[in-house]
């Protein structure tokens, strides 16, 4: 009997790679909290609880062609699209070599042209029209790429969400929008953010497919994004995907998280995708004890090396403040 991932056309090695990417994102994220709490970096903002959605989606995209417009929690996406752990640590330490911003932006504001990761800002949802613009370019230039944009469920209330998706819908543009519904927009829970039964139902007004998937299941997200990409490339337009999971950490390192019950968080952690997916891979005898040990050691060494490198790396010169306002 074929197992779930084989039915989706994924090899054992591919699901192992998905798991490894999820675990890597989690471990990098955990390291950043340590660095923040020990006073070494001023700020961090987390992906924890959303790795399955981020990595599952990334593996369904074409990493050589597609453009991604991530939001600040998307460590799993940018790592999957070729940003290195060293790059992430340079960003966290705000060092000159940081490829996202040269130490100009707060961590999480990703961007790296060579990997087709579109630069982002802090005002939420502005990236949605940008992704639509990339998709418009794909249609105009007759190129076979899609743009993939993510945001939180609170951000789906912004005007740019409506304006962007409506534009994409009217012109049937190849853009995949994935709302990572982690149940909270800082302190405000989902039921105080939206009145509709879910986020994906909003797709109806944009004349595009909408689907809500279990964001703790990387294979379910993979399938949804894979199908969305196929439709987009076939000229059938965009898709709105809602990946439902739970935010395990506070909003950021500056948030005390006192607005939700500890029990609620503990309950949600029972659905931790890293644990569940590891169990699946063990049951399928793909993830062995030996392999797990090796993987953990490798990730630890990558994270350690990156941390040390970034900590030692130089800052920008003060007068670099003046560079790159306009083209030189």
């Amino acid at each position: 009997m074929a197992n779930r991932h084989t039915k989706l056309g994924l090899s054992d090695q591919e699901v192992l790679d998905i798991y490894k990417s999820m675990l890597l994102a989690r471990k990098v994220d955990e390291r950043m909290w340590l660095l923040n709490r020990s006073g070494k970096i001023p700020f961090t903002i987390s992906c924890q609880g959303q790795e399955a959605a981020q990595v599952g989606a990334s593996f369904a995209l074409n990493k050589e062609k597609d453009y991604v417009a991530p939001y600040y929690r998307d460590l799993g996406i940018v790592l999957s699209f070729g940003m290195t752990v060293r790059d992430i640590m340079l960003f966290a330490f705000a060092k000159a070599e940081d490829p996202n911003s040269g130490g100009r932006q707060m961590p999480g504001h990703f961007g790296q042209k060579k990997n087709r990761i579109i630069t982002g800002s802090s005002p939420v949802t502005t990236q949605v029209p940008h992704a639509v613009g990339f998709a418009l370019a794909a249609k105009m230039e007759k190129k076979d790429f899609v743009s993939f944009v993510t945001l939180g469920e609170g951000s789906s209330n912004q005007g740019d969400f409506h304006e962007g998706l409506n534009f994409a819908g009217v012109h049937k543009l190849p853009v995949i929008t994935m709302v990572e519904n982690n149940q909270y927009a800082i302190s405000v829970p989902l039921h105080k953010q939206i009145a509709s039964k879910n986020v994906s139902v909003r797709s109806v007004s944009y004349g595009m497919e909408g689907i809500t998937v279990d964001g703790n299941d990387p294979l379910a997200v993979y399938e949804a994004v894979r199908d969305a990409r196929a439709r987009a490339i076939a000229g059938e337009g965009g898709t709105l995907i809602e990946a439902v999971s739970y935010r395990f950490t506070a909003h950021s390192s500056d948030d005390d998280d006192n607005y939700r019950e500890k029990e609620e968080i503990e309950q949600a952690k029972k659905q931790d995708a890293i644990v569940l997916f590891a169990n699946y891979l063990r049951e399928e005898k793909i993830l062995t004890v030996e392999l797990e040990k090796k993987m953990t050691a490798e990730i630890n060494s990558i994270v350690n090396e990156a941390t040390d490198y970034a900590e030692e790396a130089p800052y920008s010169m003060p007068e670099d403040t003046l560079k790159y306002v306009y083209e030189d």
């Binding site: 453009y67 417009a69 940081d98 490829p99 996202n100 911003s101 040269g102 130490g103 100009r104 932006q105 504001h109 961007g111 790296q112 042209k113 579109i118 630069t119 800002s121 802090s122 005002p123 502005t126 949605v128 029209p129 940008h130 992704a131 639509v132 613009g133 990339f134 998709a135 418009l136 370019a137 249609k139 105009m140 743009s147 005007g159 740019d160 409506h162 304006e163 962007g164 409506n166 534009f167 009217v170 560079k323 790159y324 306002v325 306009y326 083209e327």
Partner: protein
């Protein structure tokens, strides 16, 4: 050389750039089939097709934001805001995104977009079809703001804006569209962004202004010349960032400076021009810096009496210029 109106010069610049580079495309409300509410894109839809002259949904933040995305990809979008007054829903996209993209990405990404918008009053447009909005954007490093005063400049500057690798806001005075006509070469010339231009040489007083007010000042200068008053007129052309060198030179030349804008006075472009002159020309000045501007009311009223009261015109320019000359 053909005589062309301001709006014909705009259309010609767009057409020439679209022929030169197939990455150039237009997007906005009613720009396609209709050719724009002012007909700035007249004929381009038929010539270039629906995706080079794209009718967008009525949503300004998307017009700017989708344009920004396409520009980051490598296209050359020319976005049209139907009226400058309606640019406000797009301000987040323009200021948080377009202006900051190059800087925030440490020169990795850039946004070569041009955003055109008709501004200005004197057309019975009332509060929301008459405003000057340049001051909103004029302290946002990363943006360039170009405001041509006549057809010749409009063509050369619009072509430069489209070729510029940074975001340019291009404000066209809607009353100038059909009022101003002059010789416009049909060859491929571009004018430099960031450079002011002397529109009249003179020795007694200096007027520094931009947009339609240049035309008013020129008319007033003609009259004053009959009285023996010689006026030097500097057209800012680019109102952000300002051409400091040309401002200092023009102010120092006569020592008597009148600054004119159609915008409300307080916080306007000419306040910064005054600061530049005050910092650099103190010992060359023979009179206090004088300013002529719209009154500090929210916007221009509809009734002809009040509209006329608000607007700068050649008579108001002449009066202020004479007063300055006589100081």
């Amino acid at each position: 050389m053909p005589i062309m109106s301001y709006i014909q010069a705009i259309t010609l610049a767009l057409r020439e750039e679209m022929l030169r580079d197939d990455k150039v495309f237009i997007l906005g409300e009613d720009v396609g089939k209709k050719g724009g509410v002012f007909r700035a894109t007249d004929g381009l839809y038929d010539e270039f097709g629906e995706y080079r002259v794209l009718d967008t949904p009525l949503a300004e933040s998307a017009i700017a934001g989708v344009g920004i995305g396409a520009a980051m990809y490598g296209m050359r979008p020319v976005a049209e805001m139907q009226f400058a007054d309606f640019i406000l829903p797009a301000v987040n996209q323009i200021i948080s995104e377009a202006a900051k993209t190059r800087y925030r990405s440490n020169n990795d990404w850039s946004v070569p977009i041009t955003i055109r918008a008709p501004y200005g009053g004197g057309v019975h447009g009332a509060l929301y079809h008459s405003q000057s909005v340049e001051a909103i954007f004029a302290n946002q490093p990363g943006l360039k703001i170009v405001m041509p005063s006549g057809p010749y400049d409009a063509k050369g500057l619009l072509k430069a804006a489209i070729r510029d690798n940074d975001p340019v806001l291009f404000f066209e005075h809607k009353r100038a569209y059909r009022l101003l006509k002059e010789e416009v070469p049909d060859d491929d010339y571009v004018l430099p962004i960031g450079k002011a231009d002397i529109k009249r040489e003179g020795t007694d007083i200096t007027v520094i202004t931009y947009g339609l007010c240049v035309h008013f000042a020129l008319q007033a200068a003609e009259k004053l010349a009959e009285e023996g008053i010689s006026t030097h007129i500097l057209d800012l052309r680019t109102v952000y960032p300002l051409d400091k060198e040309s401002i200092i030179k023009a102010a120092s030349k006569t020592g008597k400076v009148l600054l004119i804008t159609e915008d409300n006075l307080e916080g306007s472009i000419i306040g910064e021009v005054a600061a530049i002159i005050a910092e650099n020309c103190l010992f060359d000045l023979d009179a206090p810096i004088m300013r002529l501007a719209g009154p500090d009311v929210p916007a221009m009223p509809y009734a002809p009496t009040m509209e006329k009261y608000f607007m700068v015109n050649p008579d108001k320019c002449e009066k202020a210029m004479r007063e300055l000359a006589e100081f």
